[in-house]
């Protein structure tokens, strides 16, 4: 090992430790009883128990939170991609009246603070009878996910030479057939990356999803805060619920790990 690479290894070890120790502490707490958490200070659980997880996985008011979150996240991802794909194609292939202004205006929606939209969303979705439904949260998250998906997909699509489109049209492909059969497979990794980002930002958002739901579509993140404040301080269950919210993200990362670096650059490297 050269000196430079040993230095890198030390830097990365320290950084990863910094990232993982707080997560370890949460996992550690989730395996302890409340008496052990508050009574003794231990670096690892002396009497490991899965009781906290059992509480969550056997109580519908807990585990339905995960189901609700997953439902609206998947709906949002599908919706965002469905509208963003044709739009990104238009932006990457054609010039049209007002295209640059439109693109910039879309991006400004990514800069809109959710706090600004919380109250108007609540009123709008109550007025149209969508309050406390999964689709309301999925639509609300489109505010920031659609611009992002258009941005990412446009980057990946611009990397595909336009001769491919022209050749396909000469060969007699219609636009929808060309788009689904030839073009989409070409930018498959871009679609995967855009889906990853939609999933990520919809999964981690709380302010809007909490404001727009009360019972039927309540996300897990909101379930956590309320149950904890109602039943005193049940640290063990709180920690277990937190650990369970990390798992879906970890799974998704594992699937896109080979594209993650390019994806984080939004297809623009």
């Amino acid at each position: 090992m050269t000196r430079a690479s040993r230095g890198s290894a030390i830097v990365m070890t320290l950084y990863l430790l910094f990232l993982l120790v707080p997560i370890y502490w949460l996992v550690n707490m989730s395996l302890k009883t409340n008496a052990e958490i508050t009574g003794t200070f231990s670096l690892w659980p002396r009497t490991p128990t899965l009781a906290n997880y059992r509480v969550i996985l056997t109580d519908p008011s807990w585990y339905m939170g995960y189901v609700n979150s997953l439902i609206y996240v998947v709906m949002n991802t599908a919706l965002s991609l469905a509208v963003a794909l044709p739009a990104a194609y238009a932006f990457s292939r054609y010039r049209f009246l007002g295209d640059k202004h439109l693109f910039f205006w879309l991006l400004t929606n990514r800069m809109a603070p959710p706090a600004v939209f919380a109250l108007p969303f609540f009123q709008l979705y109550s007025a149209v009878g969508l309050f406390d439904t999964h689709i309301a949260v999925a639509l609300a998250h489109c505010l920031f996910n659609v611009p992002l998906a258009v941005w990412i997909l446009e980057g990946f699509m611009s990397g595909v030479p336009r001769e491919i489109d022209e050749t396909a049209y000469i060969d007699g492909y219609s636009f929808p057939r060309f788009f689904t059969r030839i073009f989409m497979p070409l930018i498959a990794s871009g679609i995967g990356v855009a889906a990853f980002f939609c999933f990520m930002f919809s999964w981690v958002e709380l302010l809007l999803s909490r404001t727009l739901t009360s019972v039927n579509a309540k996300p897990i993140a909101a379930t956590m805060t309320r149950t904890v404040s109602a039943s005193g301080l049940d640290w063990g269950v709180l920690a277990a619920a937190g650990v369970l919210t990390i798992l879906p993200g970890a799974l998704v990362i594992w699937f896109v790990r080979n594209y993650i670096a390019k994806g984080f650059a939004l297809g623009r490297v």
Binding site: G7, L19, V21, F96, L102, V116, V150, V204, G242, R257
Partner: protein
């Protein structure tokens, strides 16, 4: 290179327009509507002109929140951008370790924001948290609930923990696109490590750095959930950032008029600062 002009492309953009009109334009119009009206209850509204805007622009409370917010975003950018570049330079380039490091680094990014808050709230507690306990054992008087400075430090460390990986992953993607030939040429010229960084790596990262700076600025300027969970805006108002103040005003006190005027000004400030970053950073790129 020139793209053909085709106004029928509008048809492809139409679904996005309809969707964004529903989820952005209508709510935004509601906000505009509230910002120029006053009410005595009973849904009776009357025209109030620019009164609310004036009130917000002159409010000491909002000036203080804006000041805290600007300071917070400045500190976040000053720490996370250089640290992210530094980490990216040290990441393994290929192989199993590279994949593993990538996955582990992305982990904090996919944790729901209130869970991030919870993790640090627990981690920093003196009685049951590793960080708080360790600091106390070292004889440091650390208490993020009562001490404003400790509260700030906790929130900044939490944000660095949460988001530095995003900057590092973006820069890493930029570094990966540099052909080996560039480094070989630098070796032949006997360029110093600093020279390689300054004239090869940094210019190649300029594009992704722009994205990183914009994303980190926007998101740190909009931060709500994490400090709300950790400190609730306290002690006092020490960590009440703009979004926390806005939600307090709009949903807590239901002051619709001032909250709406506040929202619009808030949004404009973000747009303005993002535009400045964009203009300055792209101007630098064009004049090497």
């Amino acid at each position: 290179m020139d793209k053909p002009v085709n106004n029928r492309a509008w048809l492809l953009v139409l679904p996005v327009l309809v969707l964004v009109a529903f989820s952005a334009v209508i709510p935004l119009m509601t906000v505009v509507n509230y910002s120029v009206q006053d009410t005595f209850g009973n849904n009776q509204f009357f025209w109030n002109g620019l009164g609310w805007f004036q009130e917000v622009l002159e409010s000491d409370r909002i000036h203080a929140a804006l000041g805290r917010q600007l300071l917070f975003s400045a500190i976040i950018l000053a720490i996370e951008i250089p640290l992210g570049i530094f980490i990216a330079l040290n990441m393994p380039k290929r192989g199993f370790w590279a994949s593993l490091v990538l996955v582990l680094m992305a982990l904090p990014l996919l944790i729901p924001w209130n869970v991030v808050g919870t993790i640090w709230q627990v981690f920093g507690r003196v009685d049951i948290g590793l960080l708080g306990h360790t600091l106390a054992a070292m004889g440091i008087d650390y208490n993020y609930v009562n001490d404003p400075l400790d509260a700030w430090a906790t929130i900044i460390v939490m944000d660095v923990w949460h988001w530095t990986s995003l900057v590092a992953l973006l820069c890493y993607a930029g570094l990966q696109s540099i052909p080996d030939a560039y480094y070989q040429a630098a070796r032949i010229d006997q360029a110093s490590r600093w020279g390689v960084f300054r004239y090869i790596e940094l210019p190649k990262m300029a594009g992704v750095l722009l994205i990183a700076v914009l994303l980190r600025f926007m998101d740190s300027f909009m931060i709500y959930t994490e400090p709300f969970v950790v400190t609730g805006g306290g002690p006092g108002n020490a960590t009440t950032f703009l979004s926390i103040d806005l939600v307090k005003m709009a949903i807590g006190q239901f002051d619709l008029g001032p909250a709406a005027a506040f929202s619009l000004i808030y949004f404009l400030v973000i747009l303005l600062i993002s535009w400045v970053f964009y203009t300055v950073m792209t101007a630098q790129r064009e004049t090497p």
